[in-house]
Amino acid sequence: MPFNQKPQKFNAKINDVTIGSGDKTVTFGGDCTFPFYSFDAESENSPKIGVEISDMGLEGVSEGIKAYYEGATTMGEIAQKAAAMEGADFVALILEGGDPNGVNKSIDELIEVVKEVAAAVDCPLVVEGCKNVEKDAELLPKVAEALQGRNALILSEKEENYKAIGAAAGLAYNQIVGAESAVDINLAKQLNVVTTQLGVDAKKIVMNIGSAAAGYGYEYVVSTMDRIKGAALGQNDNMLQMPIITPVSAETWNVKEATASEKDMPEWGPQDERGIDMEVETAAADLAAGSDAVILRHPESVKTISKLIKALA
């Protein structure tokens, strides 16, 4: 009996959300199939890759990343090199120096960095906060203000601070709102519901449903993403049809596989390679589970994942 292919058709699709302005834009989402099921239907927008840079410059990054950015001294130059990376679709600036439990840079200081980066590159921009909910509630509205006109993605509002960040980014300054929840389909949906109730357009929300490095409780991430896609497409749940962005590097470059030096762990091989491996493995799994965009750091990782997307999409 000949094989008779029956495409799995859904009467729903993931929202397409475009970030960036002018002729430099990228669009997340838009698909009506499970990830890479190109045999069911044509993919509208293949998954996108962002390159993460930090307001802390090149402090603490791995040797390989440092080597790529060699010669770049200002944040503007770093951003330009990131934007030029092979396979990169957008630049993601993380303001980790703002963390009150860390360097605790002032909001003005951080906004200067945001402005410098925005001036240096014209590619689509994602700005990530410092992860502290109180600080982000003050910082990210300022970021949204500073980036007016850039149609940037502000990562991210959480349940605790969605009112401040959602209203500033989604209503006042017309940016794209990133909605971050903690690896749970219900919590993700609840945040989308309350955000849209604020008046934010559901089509201007991108979810970060939470992540982990592969091997670190990662099964929950896969299952959550998978079920979100299932509900969005199968049940036409419009409160879960937002595309998903997953900041991978912030997780993977902090686990021991990436941080242990070669001197301490000679049997594990070169440190830089291990970091790349963690980043690539996690990102590949995120994409296969349902992420519409990933954020990476190492040029090797970006190149590899970009190749993977081209081959599968």
Partner: protein, 646 residues
């Protein structure tokens, strides 16, 4: 040694002595001063407030006391150490009301009607309302020099004439009275007896001319509230009714904290004393005094309570209940007598217990199931008991399945800053105007009673109204501003239902975001348990024909509001029936009717127990249900419709 004086708002005081460094809450517990401390003195709940009136205390400052309150002398007892002689005021706020005993006024026939109704329903199901207690009149020949038989043999022989039983037992308590009663009555007496097919037990003996009432006591021991009825065993008439806070509450609000407390040295005795000596015995005395009845004339007692409560009541180690594989010491037992546990009724009175089904589904549920009558109908019914533990039974005359979920004490007013039991001063119903955001409320008690706090039904109303008027969002966070919406300096929102000047206590009656959050978790636990249990049977909520809701959460729940907040499934409101405290009603039936008692044992052994913690999707259901009305709004179509109308 320092002197610690506890003053109450009614002017009375209690004095105790303590060493430097002693914890004030511990001192209060030692002196039997009930300061409510649901968190067991961890500084987490902020309920054990006292006001410093004289002397000094070494108190840590906490989030629960604002700066103004601190300068007015308010302290948390659990965070205070004794450093000198001190006098503190124990306030009459909502939580203190919680432990206040109440003997119900039986003039309102509603209370009685619930019992009468239950009696008729079981009778209609073919269960006879008979028990083994009886009064018999016995006439004996007076002794003489020719007839020298001793008194006890004389009585035994006379009784044997009535009933040809091999063994007749006369306990010490009767023997002691025997010579006097026989002679004063001229050997014409009435005996209270219990007969079984092969023996007879004589509980008591009276002069034959006396009118003898056989008393019986049914008690529902809830984690938070204890209630009881004193009945006439022959007719089933309710003679008195009483309710009180469970004295164990100062050892923690939930069963787990109680078990942990009971594990400490001397803990089992402490907890048993708290529920028997401090709670049930005073209730018995109060009821007996109100109707001039002798405690000694209570010859049988029936207890319906959750598994932990009946273990602690019996003074039995409850520790295995909270640890895998969660095995109780007994499901049912008939080896308990009043004198064993110090219940101050007739010492030979038998204590029967509604049987447990599992470590978290106890006798309160089997007793309630008896009352709900779901075992006698072909339609599918759901029985829900809203207590500190929420328990569910689903089924019909062919099968029944039960499960328990931890709802916390919120339904009975615990874990809610202004929460209280449904007694005088409790707001039991409320509506809020959408435009002005002004509330209208109904208070338990005589007309004019000022509001002191919120009971379960009031909390449901307030949260539902806050949500339907758009004052809070589905997460329970305040999104509208107004005169009655406040934010503290940590940004936490609250809604004032009654300002201090309209309230009958020292502070505003309000509901905070933390309260709402606690309540959302409680209702989420109930709803997700319903869904999980039905899913496990491949049923959905549309297949439920009737829902019976029990629990002492107020005189009645506004079912529409309970659906609005997503506590109960969105099915037609006429399917919901509130059946009051079914645990107490069930205990009453088991006490009054031996066939009903047997039926309850049978129901318990036929019920399947579903352990929710082993169902992988339960957590998912729970998180989905922790939203008003639910993350999956399509489960609540009528709520959406209603919201659009408003």
């Amino acid at each position: 040694m320092f002197k610690v004086t506890f003053a109450f708002e009614n002017g009375s005081t209690v004095e105790a002595f303590a060493n430097a460094g002693d914890n004030l809450l511990e001192v209060a517990r030692g002196a039997n001063v009930a300061i409510d401390a649901p968190c067991s003195g961890n500084g987490a709940c902020g309920k054990c407030r006292v006001q410093l009136k004289g002397g000094e205390l070494d108190s840590k400052k906490t989030l629960h006391i604002s700066d103004e309150e601190y300068s007015a002398g308010w302290r948390l007892a659990c965070m205070s150490k004794i450093t000198a002689d001190v006098e503190v005021l124990v306030p009459d706020i909502a939580s203190a009301y919680k432990s206040r005993m109440k003997v119900a006024d039986l003039s309102s026939k509603e209370e009685i009607a619930i019992f009468e109704n239950a009696k008729h329903e079981v009778e209609a199901a073919g269960i006879e309302l008979t028990n083994s207690l009886d009064v018999v009149e016995v006439h004996m020949e007076e002794p003489s020099l020719d007839d020298t038989m001793p008194d006890n043999e004389r009585l035994t022989r006379a009784l044997r004439k009535y009933m040809n039983l091999k063994r007749i037992r006369i306990p010490y308590s009767v023997l002691r009275k025997l010579p006097d009663v026989l002679r004063s009555s001229k050997f014409s007496v009435k005996c209270v007896i219990r007969t079984t097919p092969d023996d007879m037990f004589v509980y008591d003996i009276f002069d034959g001319k006396e009118d003898v009432i056989i008393g019986g006591l049914a008690v529902d021991i809830g984690t938070t509230t204890v209630s009881a009825v004193l009945i006439n065993m022959e007719t089933g008439e309710i003679l008195a009714k009483s309710s009180s806070g469970n004295g164990q509450i100062r050892f923690g609000a939930d069963v787990i904290n109680r078990i942990i407390e009971a594990e400490k040295p001397g803990g089992k005795k402490k907890l048993q004393d708290a529920v028997i000596k401090e709670t049930i015995n005073p209730m018995i005395h109060e009821m007996c005094r109100s109707i001039h009845f002798s405690e000694q004339q209570i010859y049988r007692m029936c207890v319906a309570s959750n598994t932990t409560m009946n273990h602690l009541f019996a003074g039995i180690n409850a520790d295995p209940l909270r640890m895998e594989p969660y095995i109780p010491a007994f499901f049912k037992t008939n080896s308990l007598f009043a004198s064993d546990v110090g219940i101050e009724i007739n010492p030979d009175a038998h204590i029967i217990m509604a049987p447990n089904i599992g470590s978290y589904v106890g006798g309160d549920i089997t007793a309630g199931t008896l009352v709900s009558m779901i075992w006698n109908r072909p339609e599918f019914s759901l029985f829900i008991d809203l207590g500190t533990n929420g328990e569910l039974v689903f089924g019909n005359s062919d099968f029944m399945m039960s499960c328990a979920c931890s709802a916390g004490p919120a339904f009975e007013g615990g874990d809610i800053s202004c929460g209280m039991r449904a007694t005088d001063g409790a707001i039991e119903a409320c509506t809020i105007d959408k435009e002005t955001m002004e509330p209208t409320y109904k208070v338990v008690g005589d007309p004019g009673t000022k509001p002191v706090g919120l009971c379960g039904s009031g909390i449901i109303d307030v949260i539902s109204e806050l949500f339907m008027t758009g004052i809070i969002n589905p997460k329970g966070k305040f999104v509208r501003e107004g005169k009655r919406v406040r934010h503290d300096h940590y940004g936490m929102g609250s809604y004032v239902i009654a300002f201090e000047d309209e309230a009958g206590s020292v502070k505003d009656v309000e509901i905070t975001e933390v309260d709402i959050d606690n309540f959302i978790r409680a209702k989420g636990a109930i709803f997700s348990a319903i869904r999980t249990m039905l899913n496990s049977l491949d049923f959905d909520v549309s297949m439920i024909d009737d829902v019976y809701v029990a629990g002492g959460i107020g005189s009645g729940i506004n079912m529409a509001n309970a659906v609005h907040i997503g506590m109960f499934p969105d099915i037609p409101l006429e399917k919901f029936h509130y059946i009051g405290n079914s645990s107490l009603t069930g205990a009453y039936l088991m006490l009054h009717s031996t066939p009903a008692e047997k039926k309850t044992y049978e129901l318990a052994s036929n019920m399947t127990y579903l352990e929710l913690s082993t169902v992988p999707t339960y957590m998912d259901e729970f998180v989905g249900a922790c939203f008003i009305p639910h993350t999956e709004t399509s489960l609540f179509p009528s709520v959406l419709e209603e919201m659009q109308k408003r």
